[in-house]
């Protein structure tokens, strides 16, 4: 039946090229997602002792620096507030009225 089957229909333009492109896409390796890359990195690279120690040390250094900077800012703010308060208490023209 196949031998007897004939068709006059013509192929659409660039049909062969399209077929080969689809085959190439299907065979191309799938790019891993960002999360998969991160998970892979955490699972395989991070546990290396040198890297793990560096990672923890860097995060501790960041914590110390940010803590110190914010504490410095807060202390300066409190000192400034108290110095102004001292002046306000002594100066009748600035003293808070009840």
């Amino acid at each position: 039946m196949l031998k007897e089957w004939r068709t006059d229909a013509t192929l659409p333009p660039r049909f062969h090229e399209g077929v080969w492109r689809r085959i190439e896409w299907a065979q191309a390796p799938v790019a891993p997602s960002v999360w998969a890359v991160i998970a892979q990195w955490i699972g395989t690279v991070l546990p290396r002792p040198a890297l793990a120690a560096s990672y923890v040390a860097v995060l501790v250094a960041i914590g110390v620096t940010v803590g110190w900077a914010q504490a410095h800012q807060e202390t300066a703010r409190v000192k400034d507030e108290l110095s102004q308060r001292y002046v306000r208490v002594l100066d009748p023209y600035l003293a808070p009225r009840q």
Binding site: A39, L46, G67, W68, Y93, A95
Partner: protein, 152 residues
Amino acid sequence: MKRGGFILVLGLVAAAAAYGCVYLACTSSARSFQRSEKPELAWLKVEFNLSDAEFKRVSELHAAYLPKCREMCTQIDVQNSKLQKLLAAATDVSPEIERELAESSRLRTECQTMMLRHFFQVSQTMPPEQGRRYLSWVKEKTFLPDYGMPKE
């Protein structure tokens, strides 16, 4: 993955702990100021390195000055309200307004003299170098050229 995740979390926890420890340690002086009965005097003690004896004397001077300051505040308020009443009804500078303006000036002079006297007394209680620093700071804060003028 399990070990990597543990290290990841350990790093974050260590960073948070380091932040908290440093922040709490470095703000302990500020917190102790705020906890004290008179925070502004606690600040003064630390800022000008006062010994306990010097601080006691400064606190006594401070306590003795406050009633005089309150009395001056009352006089200033009375004088201001008198002047405001006159100014509200005035269309020109009357002799009465002139008199009240002069009285306001006299009050301001009296107030500044009283303050300055107190500042000198306090500075003399401190070690000489700190006393000079205190005087320079407090004069700058209370006797600036734009004293009493609103900031733009």
